[in-house]
């Protein structure tokens, strides 16, 4: 778990503001710099929600292309605002994807390719049991899910998570306990490797 105050680091970064200003003027190199600085967390969020690496990679691309196209509408100045905006876009993409999956369940299985053949096992997805984690996360309440994603997947500490969610620290701790208890009850250890 990351315990440093990353939100404050982001907001203090002058390079970030410069990148954002240049990106707004359609400087693709600057936007690529923003991508380099932020994409790991957005990807982690997508992977946790979707449970399939290839799908998370596709949606990651869509998130940043949408962000680039919609940068004129983004009014924020700090990196935490930019991150929040990216997560909002990512959340929308996840919802669209899940809705599309529920309409087309035949596309749901990640191991069947378009031509009907079965592709090789995705070792990371399988080893960590990402699919079942994503399914279990989707059964939590929105607040419970946000707490575990912020704390354990995205690496925000307790104070940062409480700021991000506009809740007090006590509520975040209680939500965290309930969420982990529910997940632990639902999920078996991944791949038998867990101790």
């Amino acid at each position: 778990m990351v315990t440093g105050s990353q939100l404050n680091e982001y907001e203090a970064s002058p390079q970030y503001r410069e990148l954002l200003d240049r990106a707004r003027q359609r400087d693709v190199a600057a936007f690529t710099g923003l991508y380099e600085a932020t994409h790991r967390r957005v990807f982690s969020y997508l992977l946790a929600r979707l449970g399939v690496q290839a799908t998370a990679e596709d949606l990651l691309r869509e998130v940043y292309v949408s962000a680039l196209r919609g940068l004129d509408r983004f009014r924020g100045r700090t990196e935490s605002e930019f991150m929040a905006w990216l997560f909002k876009i990512a959340h929308g993409k996840v919802m669209d994807h899940l809705r599309s999956q529920s309409r087309h369940p035949e596309l749901k299985r990640s191991d069947v390719q378009r031509n009907g053949t079965v592709k090789p096992l995705d070792t990371i997805d399988q080893r960590l049991g990402l699919g079942e984690i994503a399914a279990a996360l989707s059964k939590l309440t929105e607040d419970q899910r946000d707490v575990v994603l912020n704390r354990f997947v995205l690496g925000f500490d307790l104070t940062e998570t409480s700021q991000l969610m506009h809740k007090n620290v006590g509520s975040v701790k209680a939500l965290q306990h309930r969420a982990l208890a529910r997940l632990a009850k639902t999920l078996r250890p991944a791949g038998g490797e867990h101790d």
Binding site: M1, Y35, A48, L130, F152, G155, G170, K173, H177, L180
Partner: protein
């Protein structure tokens, strides 16, 4: 609940610093294991290929389509038949050959579709972005095929030839546009240069293919230096 929640928070920080959990808190073990399992997801990043695809997508998306208000009808007269051909050819190639290689009969269709896409691009900057994206796709394919030791001399030669011609076309289009397009192009050319140089250093190609590879690298590097930003005059000069 509050007590348990506080206890869990204390044990979480110990767990992530690998400190042992006291025996009195063993009931929290499943929750701590769950937290560790979730934490592993944060350590996974997108693959290098996915990152490359995202960069290309950003490059393409960065160039806005320009709509010209005057003399639109001659362009429409060209665009409509081309669009029909593009849709027909695109349907075939999308389903049959999204990345056909030169030893496939569909490679010609791939070239045709790319050519039409470039023709329909509204601005020189967009043409440059498409040309360089197509060059990079071929460089990626060449590297993958060579790593898998499955590239025939004809495939290597054709891919290298087409990389050079796409790079030349991209350079010309970017020169027509301006500094922003040149800067974007230079960045991708740098990536292609790195890929091809690594391929050269791997020593996996035959002498004649290596010679052609060197010529292609030279073409790419020429583009890089042509598109490099002009030096800003320093104060006092």
């Amino acid at each position: 609940m509050t007590n348990n929640a506080d206890r869990l928070e204390e044990r979480l920080s110990e767990t992530f610093s690998n400190a042992p959990v006291p025996a009195s808190d063993r009931d929290l073990d499943p929750l701590l294991a769950m937290a560790k399992r979730l934490h592993q997801i944060g350590a996974i990043g997108p693959s290098a290929a996915a990152t490359q695809r995202t960069r290309l997508a950003l490059l393409r998306a960065s160039v806005p389509e320009v709509r010209h208000s005057r003399a639109w009808w001659p362009k429409l007269a060209t665009a409509v038949p081309l669009a029909i051909i593009l849709m027909t050819v695109g349907t075939v190639t999308t389903f049959a050959a999204p990345s056909a290689l030169p030893d496939s009969p569909l490679y010609g269709l791939r070239n045709l579709r790319e050519g039409i896409e470039i023709q329909l691009a509204g601005t020189p900057a967009r043409r440059a972005a498409l040309d360089i994206a197509f060059a990079q796709q071929r460089a990626d394919q060449l590297v993958r095929l060579t790593q898998a030791n499955s590239a025939s001399p004809m495939v290597v030669s054709t891919l290298l030839r087409d990389i050079s011609s796409r790079v030349h076309a991209a350079d010309a289009a970017a020169q027509e546009d301006g500094p922003a397009a040149r800067a974007a192009l230079q960045r991708v050319e740098g990536q292609i240069d790195n890929e091809l140089t690594q391929l050269h250093n791997s020593g996996t190609l035959s002498p004649s293919a290596t010679q052609q590879l060197d010529n292609t690298i030279h073409d790419v590097q020429s583009g890089e230096s042509t598109n490099a930003p002009e030096p800003t005059p320093s104060a006092g000069q």
